[in-house]
């Protein structure tokens, strides 16, 4: 079982992801520079947060053409776990590995704050240790996180359980006040049709130790570990 943390020029959460996997959870993990084309030694790839290529043109628009992304697409097509967090989610949407796009927050502000996520689907590789409907305290840190997709795709996502996380109150109610960016249907994270590619705006790697205010993000990493252990 080996994790890879993909690093683009301008990625900034790579260190946090690497730290949580290696130091908090004791997992084998490497940084993977964006020019890498061979991903055969990995079981799960994380595309972390940041501002790849300065967010020029659109968030994730340039990173999508990095050499590693063709390999990531092949890795995903073979069933490998690909986990996009924040800017990683934006890149996966731009690359067409996930549907939709992330738009400027509806209030135009960059928001770095605690949010609460309700687990809508506890049967994904990333949430298998969660209870259905469990509420996780995991922070966001973004200016462009308003999930948008066309009506037909939205219906498909909702009807097939592909909305994995929704912004809610601490009590688990998906209200307008609990929505930090104006995302459609309070959507905070989705999976692809096969369930092996996850994109989420909140940062579980910043919520993996009680010292940081919440350790609720750990269960997502532990779910992946359980998934990979079950597969071997």
């Amino acid at each position: 079982m080996r994790f890879g943390v993909v690093v683009f020029p301008g990625t900034w959460s790579d260190g946090d992801c690497h730290y949580v996997l290696s130091q908090v959870l004791g997992q084998p993990v490497d940084y993977v520079w964006h020019k890498e084309r061979d991903l055969s030694r990995y079981d799960c790839l994380i595309l972390p947060g940041g501002f790849s290529y300065g967010d020029y043109l659109r968030c994730g628009a340039i990173a999508r053409f990095s050499p590693v992304m063709a390999a990531v697409a092949q890795f995903a097509a073979r069933g490998g776990l690909v986990w996009g967090i924040c800017n990683g989610f934006q890149i996966l949407c731009e690359a067409g590995l996930l549907p939709g796009a992330l738009l400027r927050n509806n209030h135009l502000q960059f928001r770095c704050q605690q949010t609460h996520l309700r687990v809508e689907n506890a049967h994904t590789p990333y949430t298998r240790l969660c209870r259905p409907g469990q509420v996780l305290a995991i922070p966001i840190s973004h200016g462009e996180g308003r999930y948008y997709t066309d009506a037909a795709t939205l219906r498909e996502l909702e009807e097939t359980g592909r909305v994995v996380f929704r912004y809610t109150t601490p009590q688990g109610e998906a209200t307008a006040e609990a929505n930090p960016n104006g995302a459609t249907n309070n959507i905070a994270g989705i999976v692809n049709r096969e369930g092996n590619v996850l994109g989420m705006m909140p940062h579980p790697e910043r919520a993996a130790e009680a010292l940081l205010g919440s350790s609720d993000g750990r269960v997502l990493f532990e779910s992946v570990m359980a998934q990979l252990a079950a597969r071997v």
């Binding site: 549907p99 796009a101 738009l103 135009l108 997709t149």
Partner: protein, 82 residues
């Protein structure tokens, strides 16, 4: 040499909070006739192509592959010699 002037705008169905905020600013300044504002991107691309039709074909390809995101944006352009 050709010059392409490319305009990338959010699709009409996509909410544009920047445009709404700019509209509010204009109205505060007394431009009360302003009904709506949509913000977008403007790009100038100079390119060497054999003729106008070839230049337009290349620019269209650029718009589809990189300069716009078809999920959220529309594009239009004009190509002139220069």
């Amino acid at each position: 040499m050709f010059l392409a002037r490319i305009y990338v705008t959010l699709k009409p169905a996509v909410n544009d909070p920047q445009g709404l905020t700019i509209r509010g600013g204009l109205q505060t300044l007394g431009f009360t006739s302003v009904a709506s504002v949509r913000a977008g991107k403007y790009l100038e691309v100079r390119l060497e192509e054999r003729d106008q039709a070839a230049a337009e074909a290349r620019v269209r390809e650029m718009c589809q592959k990189l300069l716009s995101n078809p999920v959220i944006e529309d594009y239009r352009f004009e190509v002139v010699e220069g």
